[in-house]
């Protein structure tokens, strides 16, 4: 299998403007590889470096050392993002646009032909159940609807790799279920999904493999079944062990 997402000795440092403060190492030599067609859960406590990794993969932040590749193209090149879809943790879209205008805008960025764009918009709005609200400005949407509009924009280019940053965060149980169903459907279609989440039960259900990041280092990487067997406990307990959680007496 080919690696669609790969990082090689990736290091990111944030230099403080205050001379007295030390440089913060957000990622310390991350080596990661996600294969075609797998669903990869990227786990770690807050501040572990998950968002920094996403930021490097999406070209928002340049690595201090090492490199990251999407489909063997360095992420510093915008074309590396031609075959990916990205869903941010929260909904960050132009709220004065309607859902279909938003999708049309992103389709133009991908240079999708006009008639193909309209077909995809119809299909995606049906998939995320937003057909009835397609002509309403996004600012009038509920949080769940906005997140579904986000899923639609992430799929407009029919991506081969999806990067999902805590896709079910802040959604009600129904919203979570819908997002999970969509991820499952994408998995069945053979898409590669890379997603970060704190919902370990969800990760255990959906993911083929996981990586657990702690303090900028990848502590564990492997198949969910293998990790559960090896540690003889569920994924949540594996996670707590890896990050060195010690229960304290109250």
């Amino acid at each position: 299998m080919n690696a669609v997402l790969r990082t090689e000795n990736l290091r990111v440092e944030y230099r403080s403007r205050d001379l007295k403060q030390q440089t913060k190492v957000a990622l310390a030599g991350l080596d990661l590889s996600v294969q075609t067609g797998e669903v990869f859960g990227f786990l770690g406590p807050n501040g572990a470096g998950k968002t920094t990794t996403m930021n490097v993969l999406l070209g928002y932040v340049n690595a201090t050392a090492g490199a990251a590749f999407l489909f063997d193209v360095n992420v510093r090149e915008p074309i590396a993002r031609q075959r990916i879809g990205y869903l941010p943790e929260l909904t960050y879209y132009y709220k004065f646009l309607t859902a279909e205008e938003l999708l049309r805008f992103y389709a133009r960025i991908f240079e999708i032909p006009k008639n193909e764009t309209e077909t995809r918009i119809d299909r995606l709005l049906k998939l995320v159940e937003l057909e009835h609200a397609r002509k309403r400005p996004i600012r009038t949407y509920s949080k769940g609807m906005q997140q579904r509009a986000g899923i639609a924009q992430a799929l407009i280019n029919n991506p081969d790799l999806l990067l999902l940053d805590e896709p079910t965060s802040g959604l009600d149980p129904l919203g979570r279920m819908k997002v999970r169903e969509i991820i499952q459907r994408l998995k069945n279609e053979g898409k590669t999904v890379f997603f970060s989440s704190h919902e370990l039960g969800e990760v255990e259900t959906i993911c083929d493999r996981v990586g657990i990041l702690h303090q900028g280092e990848l502590k564990v990487q492997g198949r969910v079944d293998d990790l559960v067997k090896e540690h003889q406990c569920n994924l949540e307990q594996v996670f707590l062990k890896v990050v060195g959680y010690q229960p304290q007496a109250i």
Binding site: T51, T52, N55, L58, G59, Y60, V61, N62, P78, I79, A80, R81, Q82, I84, Y86, P88, L90, Y92, Y93, Y94, K95, F96, L97, E101, F105, Y106, R108, I109, F110, E111, G150, Q153, N157, L163
Partner: protein
């Protein structure tokens, strides 16, 4: 180019869905309309006064629209975090920046055209003539000047910390150049060194926005031979585009190096 025009399209949609333009246009219409209805001092030449007020309002309104629209583009994208899903697509930062410029410039151009059509109607209703060539030159040069101001504001929006600071500085620089830009070298003659050399250098470096101002010609009805030749208008266009390109390239270089997190 498709990506640049896609970004520009969103800027234009935002402008016409906001109320700024409509408010400024209605204010201009109201003030000019009131002037038009009244005939101060029974002056036969009152139309010059009306034209002067109307053009002044158009200059102020267009500057406000151009600066406020351009100043909020990148900071708004960063603050609302819409820049993240956008840059997660195959688009480079320079394409985003150029798209923002094209959007602001086109949107301001459309607004300016509406203002000038209104001005033409006001003027024609009293003077019973419509010097289309003069008004077109005035509109065109005005638009080129706004291009420089928009590019300068976009540079400020990535170099300065807040949109308010950016807008204040751009307004001061623009109004300063419009009022004093043409006289700086003459002022320098009366100054001691090194201030004289410094002021002379500033005179040669700044974009001379006052060159794009045809208000006096329009107000006093100087048409025909008094108008700039079309070759001069073309020269002004090239001059304007050169300064816009300089500010825009600098803005792209600054934006390219900015960490977004």
């Amino acid at each position: 180019m498709n990506k640049i025009f896609a970004v520009a399209g969103v800027v234009i949609k935002e402008l016409y869905r906001r109320k700024d333009f409509y408010v400024l246009f209605i204010l201009t219409v109201l003030i000019t309309g009131l002037m038009w209805l009244m005939n101060f001092f029974h002056d036969e030449q009152i139309i010059r006064f009306i034209k002067e007020i109307c053009l002044l309002l158009i200059w102020i309104s267009s500057l406000v629209i151009a600066v406020t629209t351009a100043a909020r583009q990148i900071p708004f994208e960063r603050e609302s975090r819409t820049i993240f899903p956008l840059l997660a697509k195959p688009i480079s930062r320079w394409q985003v920046m150029i798209g923002k410029f094209v959007g602001c410039w086109l949107a301001t151009g459309v607004a300016l055209l509406v203002f000038y059509i209104f001005f033409g109607l006001v003027s024609a209703s009293r003077e019973h003539t419509l010097p289309v060539d003069a008004y077109f030159q005035a509109f065109w040069l005005h638009w080129q000047m706004l291009g420089i101001v928009i590019a300068m504001t976009l540079l400020g929006s990535v170099a300065l910390s807040t949109p308010a600071a950016n807008m204040t500085i751009v307004f001061i620089i623009t109004i300063g150049i419009l009022a004093m830009g043409g006289f700086l070298h003459k002022l320098a003659e009366h100054m001691a060194e090194p201030s004289a050399s410094l002021l002379t250098a500033i005179y040669f470096v700044i974009p001379h926005l006052e060159l794009f101002n045809m208000r006096e010609l329009i107000i006093h009805g100087w048409t025909g031979a008094a108008l700039p030749r079309w070759i001069d208008v073309l020269g002004g266009t090239v001059y304007g585009l050169a300064y816009s390109a300089f500010f825009l390239i600098t803005a792209c270089l600054v934006f390219r190096r900015k960490a977004l997190n």
